[in-house]
Symmetry: C2
Subunit: 272 residues, 2 copies
Amino acid sequence: MKIGFIGFGEVASTLARSLKSEGAEVYTCLAGRSLKTVELAQSSDVNICPSFHKLADISDIILAAVVPAQAVNAAKIIGKHIKGLYVDLNNVSPSTVKEVLRQISNGKTVDAAIMGSVTREENVPIIASGKYARDFAELNNFGMKIEVVGQEIGQASAVKMLRSAYTKGVSALLFESLYAAYQMNIDDLVLKYLAKTEGPNFTEIATSRIKNSIIHGERRTQEVGEVLNFLSEYEDPIMTQATFDVFRLMVDQVSSMEKKPDDYRELFRKIK
Amino acid sequence: MKIGFIGFGEVASTLARSLKSEGAEVYTCLAGRSLKTVELAQSSDVNICPSFHKLADISDIILAAVVPAQAVNAAKIIGKHIKGLYVDLNNVSPSTVKEVLRQISNGKTVDAAIMGSVTREENVPIIASGKYARDFAELNNFGMKIEVVGQEIGQASAVKMLRSAYTKGVSALLFESLYAAYQMNIDDLVLKYLAKTEGPNFTEIATSRIKNSIIHGERRTQEVGEVLNFLSEYEDPIMTQATFDVFRLMVDQVSSMEKKPDDYRELFRKIK
């Protein structure tokens, strides 16, 4: 089985390592890529193709994992030359996935979404949709953990977006209720009593959610913006608009600080 | 120990039964009360005082559990005659609690909040704050489950309000993300993948949250309105405003239906 990666960042290098260890042949192309990508590909000891056309030509399955802004362009460059399957692993909305996959002339395409962290989880779950999703799931024989969730392109990325709408909304709710609680010096109590209904490790999860929202604030805000555009096709996204506004406020506050606060109390103490 | 109840609805009758079984003497006054309250007091076999003044005179501890709109008036009627402790168990905001307790001339007052359902939980947890909260907690010797959370009036009800801001916000988030998911026919999948990060019984909790929001929509919307007023003293309550708007939308939809829908799918199917 020959697997070709378009983009060779954290996601690709992590998956490549695992696929190689299970006996797959892994390829990528470094034409026009950044020095960091080149180094990552070399240290991962994958096969290097001289051109994207060559990569398209030899790969049984192409996995595309580039930054969201490059997703459509990457597919345009290679789309006419794909012989096997093209799997979009990019973190983009269903409508962008559809645009990406329209570039693939042979029509053998899969919408896939990574449902976790490739670096934190040994075997990160991936969901996939589209008529060819089952073919992609053959990679489960090479140590991957792919679940086919539907027959239509867009479903897998929609599931990921909707999960994101919920979990980021929860972070924004925590931010808002704990900020008021902090001002009254009852944040510990509020967390303690929420834990009684929300589960014993609520406090730990809640504080780590706020901390992550502080650290990755800008990227998260952009992601909520994507979710907002997506949901607008189906309803007036009242909660998600509020989530976006809260994240933007938080990012504004953090950006005016000399260093990123380590936890929510430090953030709240410094809020102007 | 003589316990006097002002108001004798579900909360009072449930607590009275338990206090009596532990050996407390329980009193109430039925002057001007509804037929339903009279029946509930009689079936609970509590002692009836001919007037609120008499009730105030003989009670070691007065527990006030009336509907929110009557909280201040009930305290005004009895405030000058209280000999013992006056405990506000009403479901009102910290500023209303303070107004209620200002009516009690002897100043022996407690802010208390019921953190659960008296009907569903054998021994519902109650939190209490104020200088006299410890005296109220003596009722733990009579089977109650009171935790003192602070020295200031307003803290106990603030904890309850902030918990409410969070949990009702979560219900609104579920409503919004599942409504979009339902339209795409992926609501089961979204619930399933949320359960992987949010806990194994997430789907059950989530569907019961939406169901309860449908059944008790109007009361919940009013409660969110209270939380909104309260939070506005501390911040711009962006998420809670959105929660309020979503609840209002949901109540509008449900009120135009012939019968209340049984679950979220039935609700979504009928949304105009």
